[in-house]
């Protein structure tokens, strides 16, 4: 019996063949702790009695959820992190560079075939480069800090094969929203998802990131893409034989195979307040919105900002709408500044903020109140996520978000 991609990645890590259901101890290539969880992980690490971090160069601390600080106690998290980094010689500390899940691949840490864990559920994002990465609790993170290892159960795999050419107004965000709607929010629980087919092969790594990022919204443990030459360009590595081995075998065993045709897809949205409450944008057209958010680890990349700029060029955001644009990292911010994207967005009336997680997790600028409607490109529309529990959050692609910002009502791009 052949192996799935997740079985290959874990087999390579542990040095012997594994199959779904096996429980094995893996060696961690990178671990990431975000600012929210730093004090808790540090406390558990100390309770465990470790006197050193297993490999300081494999630990990455990223301040993003609380940056810039909006509550008086937030900066304590930065101080605890800085002190921990000083004490244990951790040099990989990103204090103002952007969102953790963007930086872990962009800044050159996680590469194809790696195994990485983070203290945030959207750690699944690094599946976009063919790495196994997933979210864990802070107690387990403390154990990793001391030992460099973690036990995992090798998951079964759902294979999702998407072939064909997407309609012009359909993006990878629409695809993953449709998949979550079809699978339901628990339909992939514990499983790995493998995204394959000509549609995803044609996608940029940035588009793939959006899909890996949201795999967890169907309950998945990870959402993987086979690394290819585009992946290697992005990761600044050679497309070597070692990378080429990271493909599922033809006779691999899957718990389920789903086939989708790109031509059948339409722009969709996740409606309040469940990520699997998916409807075509055309059915929702005309709903008046108060705010549009373009950003987050799901859709704050350069191609997302450019898509929005193409739609917003020479136009104005509807006067009663606040369009908030948050690039996912400083690198993206500077690229969008250099190529004129930010100028177009600013001319259209967008509020452009510093990179971070703030609004997506309900902490930063742009919090909404009762009965307000927001169209947002992030990944969760749970009750209370971006303000009060009566805020209506619709999740959409950057194209839908931009078209909606101009019209002031939900609009298909």
């Amino acid at each position: 019996m052949g192996q799935t991609l997740i079985e290959k990645i874990i087999s390579k890590n542990v040095g012997h063949p594994v199959k779904a259901g096996d429980i094995v101890t893996v060696n961690v290539d990178y671990c990431m702790i975000d600012d929210i969880m730093v004090p808790f992980a540090v406390q558990k690490f100390e309770e465990m009695g470790f006197d050193k971090v297993w490999d300081p160069d494999k630990v990455v601390l990223i301040y993003d959820h609380f940056l810039p600080a909006t509550q008086v106690d937030d900066s304590r998290h930065f101080r605890v992190g800085d002190e921990f980094a000083r004490k244990y010689d951790i040099k990989n500390v990103h204090r103002t560079d952007g969102i953790c899940h963007q930086l872990m691949t962009e800044a050159g840490y996680v590469k194809p075939g790696h195994i990485a864990f983070g203290t945030d559920s959207h750690t699944v994002t690094y599946g976009c480069v063919g790495a196994f990465s997933t979210g864990i609790g802070y107690t387990e993170m403390a154990g990793i800090l001391g030992t460099g290892q973690l036990w995992v159960k090798v998951p079964e795999t759902i294979k999702i094969e998407i072939d064909g050419t997407l309609p012009g107004n359909v993006t990878s965000k629409d695809i993953i929203l449709k998949i979550i709607g079809d699978l339901t929010a628990s339909g992939a629980t514990y499983q790995s998802i493998e995204f394959t087919g000509s549609t995803v092969e044609a996608m940029s790594v940035a588009s793939r990131m959006t899909m890996s990022n949201m795999a967890v919204e169907a309950g998945a443990k990870c959402g993987l893409f086979v690394p290819d030459d585009k992946t290697c360009d992005y990761c600044k590595i050679d497309y070597s034989d070692e990378v080429k081995e990271l493909v599922p075998d033809n006779d691999a065993s899957y718990s389920r195979i789903i086939r989708l045709r790109a031509e059948d897809m339409v722009p969709v949205m996740a409606c309040p307040s469940l990520v699997d409450n998916i409807h075509p944008v055309s059915e929702l057209a005309g709903i008046k919105v108060d705010q549009v958010f373009l950003g987050s680890c799901t859709n704050g990349r350069l191609e997302d900002l450019r898509t929005a700029a193409t739609i917003l060029k020479g136009k104005k955001v509807a006067p009663f709408v606040k369009l908030i644009v948050t690039p996912a990292s400083r690198k993206i911010y500077r690229e969008a500044l250099a190529d004129g994207t930010l100028e177009i967005l600013s001319d259209a009336g967008a509020i452009i903020t510093t990179p971070g997680c703030g609004l997506c997790c309900g902490r930063g600028g742009g919090i909404l109140s009762d009965d307000e409607v927001v169209v947002a490109t992030n990944n969760r529309n749970f009750l209370g996520r971006m303000g009060t529990s009566k805020v209506q959050i619709y999740l959409a692609s950057p194209a839908t978000a931009a078209a909606t910002a101009v019209a002031g009502v939900i609009t298909e791009a």
């Binding site: 309770e47 107690t139 628990s186 514990y190 443990k221």
Partner: protein
């Protein structure tokens, strides 16, 4: 933990979520001991009082689904439950349980064939015997057994570091 033990069975259903195991309103209580009376209260308010140390829980599929609250396995452990046997577990609950020293066993048949009040003999990593029938169970790797035997991940690491 590798020695056999006998346990009285309590039977719960499919999809026992973490809100059933411990509702949100009790999560912020100071200690797990304070939370104990409210375990399983949405489903069976009397259960927490009836479960005696050493008893076991048998359930259907997807035990522990829902939120990541670590209080859920902590409160089951605090009730003195010796082990949970279910058809399957939600991912985060499974990890949190092991890390809090709660033994979880996967078995597809037991749930359909036992009733509440039956007494089982459990030999971790080998078998469960109940009503004259033996159910084979998979063994957990030594490193997971080390965590369980130590009483959880923090304690296991303390032991590893020569502190306890």
């Amino acid at each position: 933990m590798s020695d056999s033990f006998t346990a009285k069975i309590w039977v719960l259903g499919d999809d026992i979520d973490t809100d059933i195991i411990l509702p949100t309103e009790y999560l912020a209580m100071k200690t797990v001991q304070d939370m104990k009376p409210y375990a399983f209260s949405p489903l069976r308010p009397e259960l927490a009082e009836k479960i005696k140390p050493g008893d076991m829980i048998v359930a259907g599929k997807n035990f522990g689904c829902g939120s990541s609250r670590e209080q859920a396995p902590e409160v089951v452990k605090a009730l003195g439950v010796s082990c949970v046997v279910a058809k399957s577990y939600a991912r985060i609950f499974f990890r949190n349980a092991i890390n809090n020293g709660l033994l979880l066993i996967e078995n597809q048949d037991l749930y359909d064939e036992v009733k509440e009040g039956d007494v089982a003999t459990v030999t971790p990593g080998k078998s469960i015997e109940v009503n004259g029938k033996t159910y084979e169970i998979a063994s957990l790797p030594d490193n997971l057994m080390d965590i369980l035997n130590a009483g959880g991940l923090v304690q296991a690491m303390r032991k590893k570091n020569g502190l306890d």
